[in-house]
């Protein structure tokens, strides 16, 4: 009986270890390959947004609002080859905080957002210049 219990525990252990956590932080940082010369970037990690029922009573709707913040990357190839190394660097603030600060500057009356959607916009030109933007959109509200 104890052998069976030990076997069951042994089998359950690895399965439990493989279970994923309910929340996994996944940063949205701009990738940089090759020989990295510099990297100084901020990306989105998490943003606890409001549900419609959490909007303070008496708030005034502001309609759909959008905000954006970006990270930039450069990658200069060292040779004319598919597998050639490149010199690269990346920087910028593409985090939630920057995007929402920008929104606050543009719409000072906005007290918050609900029904929030977040997309990552990648723009790449020849693979040499890259831009990764965090685009936040949602319904804004102002305090009554």
């Amino acid at each position: 009986m104890s052998a069976l219990l030990a076997l069951a525990l042994a089998l359950c252990g690895p399965a439990r270890a493989q279970e994923k956590e309910a929340y996994e932080a996944k940063p949205g940082l701009i990738p940089a390959g090759g020989i990295l010369l510099f990297y100084d970037s901020v990306g989105p990690l998490s943003f606890e947004t409001l549900a419609p029922s959490q909007v303070p009573p008496g708030s005034r709707p502001l309609g759909e609002l959008r905000a954006r913040s970006c990270q930039y990357g450069l990658s200069i190839p060292l040779a004319l080859s598919l597998r050639s190394l490149s010199l690269s660097g990346a920087g910028g603030n593409g985090g939630y905080r920057k995007a929402l600060e920008r929104l606050k500057r543009e719409r000072p009356e906005a007290a918050g957002l609900f029904d929030v959607k977040v997309d990552l916009r990648l723009t790449s030109v020849l693979g040499i210049f890259r831009r990764l933007c965090t685009e936040v959109s949602g319904r804004g509200f102002a305090r009554g």
């Binding site: 419609p52 959490q54 004319l80 080859s81 929030v116 997309d119 916009r121 790449s124 693979g127």
Partner: protein, 116 residues
């Protein structure tokens, strides 16, 4: 091919070989805090709506599209400016043809259109 065309094509081809991508401008979904039925004025008559937004990839060289949540939810609520989505399911759908020479990734948002 005349000289002018060569001068244009060669740098583009070289750049493509070097980098694998001439140009890309795509949006991908990251997060969406959708509402639950208790958070909106839900009713049994609320219509089930769907919005699909896609990114397109051609020859591993060019990519474009608005395949994010913002576009998918906009399409789902097209013509219903006051509505809000609840009970939302999101899926990603990928199609690739001819060894991936053309590929499409789509974000699909399905939910009910309720009122605030």
């Amino acid at each position: 091919m005349d000289g002018g065309m060569k001068t244009l094509v060669f740098p583009l081809a070289a750049a493509a070989l070097l980098t694998g991508c001439l140009y890309a401008d795509i949006r991908s979904p990251r997060a969406y805090r959708s509402a639950s039925p208790s958070e909106v004025k839900a009713s049994a008559a609320d219509e089930l709506v769907q919005g699909v937004a896609c990114n397109h990839f051609v020859l591993y060289l060019v990519a474009w599209g608005k395949g994010g949540y913002a576009e998918a939810t906009r399409k789902a609520l097209e013509g219903r400016p006051e509505a809000v989505l609840y009970d939302v399911k999101t899926d990603i759908k990928v199609k690739a043809y001819l060894l991936g020479l053309y590929a499409r990734t789509c974000t699909s948002v399905t939910g009910k259109a309720g009122r605030l």
